[in-house]
């Protein structure tokens, strides 16, 4: 049985248009069609000028994040049939500047991520410059941070956050969850600096546990959990471990069989 989907896409070209407007495309449905499939059909056969980002088509890259029927989702990961309607409205993600049509400017999003120092910090820099082996990390310690490492930086959480809607200085759920990811990483020794940077009027305290970030995250990261767990450390005013207390290096012996350095 064939039927047509009504695909309404927000069109806006800042170089030509005064304000955004929706344009409708009729797309023939097929079994297993995703919203991305529908958009690419409209672009390929009806209107080559539709601007959208996509890449992997398998929810790994995060490029195709957009608002579909009122909620931010990955277009490649959203089946048309799961929307429960043959009328689909696609808009660019909220709270990011629109470059054109469905393409948003994620520059500020990546800047906020960088501001939480998203890499391991050790008290002794020479360890990272001249490593002698890997760091020891038990499986239980990995489980503490694993889900937060699944973030693909699609922007859905930050776009959907109610605080981000008004507060331009708020880091957003993605950056805060990554701040927790590194704070909780037993290899990291930069906790004190991380928490002091977040103890700000626009820092971690502007999260109010609306939970939409976790509800919409396509990778199960659960940023809301990371942020609430982060608060305790910010409240305490210090990280979970100080300089020299992070996981030690696993120094390799000459024979290739490793031995623990401590």
């Amino acid at each position: 049985m064939t039927r047509d989907i009504s695909l309404r896409v927000q069109r806006f070209d800042p170089s030509k248009d005064r304000k955004p407007a929706d344009k409708e495309y009729r797309v023939p449905w097929r079994q297993g069609m995703t919203v991305l499939d529908a958009l690419l059909y409209a672009r390929d056969y009806q209107d080559h000028s539709i601007a959208l980002r996509f890449s992997c088509r398998q929810a790994s890259c995060g490029s195709c994040a957009m608002k579909v029927n009122g909620r931010a989702r990955l277009a490649c990961y959203t089946q048309v049939d799961e929307l429960g309607s043959d009328s689909i409205v696609v808009r660019p993600m909220d709270n990011f500047e629109i470059v054109k049509d469905l393409v948003t400017d994620l520059g500020s999003f990546f800047e906020k991520h960088k501001q939480v120092t998203p890499h391991l910090v050790r008290a002794d820099d020479s360890e990272q410059d001249n490593p002698t082996g890997e760091y020891v990390m038990k499986p239980e310690a990995l489980e503490e941070i694993l889900q937060f490492t699944y973030c693909i930086k699609c922007g859905i959480c930050t776009s959907s956050c109610p605080t981000v809607a008004t507060d331009a200085k708020f880091p957003g759920p993605q950056a805060l969850a990554q701040a927790y990811r590194y704070l909780a990483d037993e290899r990291d020794e930069g906790g004190d600096l991380r928490v002091s940077a977040l103890d700000d009027v626009h820092g971690v305290w502007r999260c109010h546990f609306a939970g939409t970030c976790s509800a919409l995250c396509p990778k199960g990261v659960d940023p809301a959990m990371g942020i609430q767990l982060l608060r305790r450390h910010v409240l305490a005013g210090k990280g979970p471990r100080g300089p020299g207390e992070g996981a030690k290096e696993f120094a390799r012996s000459g024979t290739g069989t490793g031995s623990e350095s401590t």
Partner: protein, 154 residues
């Protein structure tokens, strides 16, 4: 890049972005109601400071005054005033109970622990315990309002 940035449409949702929870999770509705009820309660409290001051004669009074108290009671003690009180109890009980849920959640006590996750992903922080507390807040608020209505209008 700079030219493109200056022409890009600013897409920040503003107050509508936090006030509108349509299509979103129940905790988001809790967030909106917590804000709105908080503002409503504060507005009431400021008014309450005003009307209770008439017990001592108003802004320019010098001490307890029966005539002043009778005067303000005549203005607020009526069906409309009692309806305001019923709504006040509704928002107060919701705000307080949901507030306890938020304090517990924000201190990391009812949101679960990180773990290895499998598809389909169900965020632990949005788990049953904190959802039950939200619905408890709604139920207690309705019951409190009902009880108040029975006291004031019964």
């Amino acid at each position: 890049m700079g030219q493109q940035e200056s022409k890009a449409e600013k897409n920040r949702r503003g107050v509508a972005g936090w006030l509108n929870p349509i299509h979103l999770n129940v905790e988001r509705w809790g967030y909106v109601f917590q804000r709105v009820t908080g503002l409503a309660i504060l507005a009431y409290v400021i008014g309450h400071l005003g009307d209770t001051s008439f017990f001592v004669g108003g802004p320019f009074g010098t001490g307890p005054s029966q005539s002043s108290w009778t005067g303000i009671s005549a203005i607020v003690e009526n069906s409309f005033g009692h309806l305001i009180l019923v709504l006040l109890v509704l928002v107060l009980v919701f705000h307080g109970t949901n507030g306890v849920r938020l304090v517990l959640a924000e201190l990391g006590l009812i949101i679960g622990r990180p773990s290895a996750i499998e598809y389909p992903y169900r965020p632990k922080s949005l788990g049953r315990l904190q959802k039950y507390l939200f619905w408890a807040a709604v139920v207690f608020a309705l019951l409190g309002a009902l009880w108040t209505g029975m006291i004031l209008f019964g």
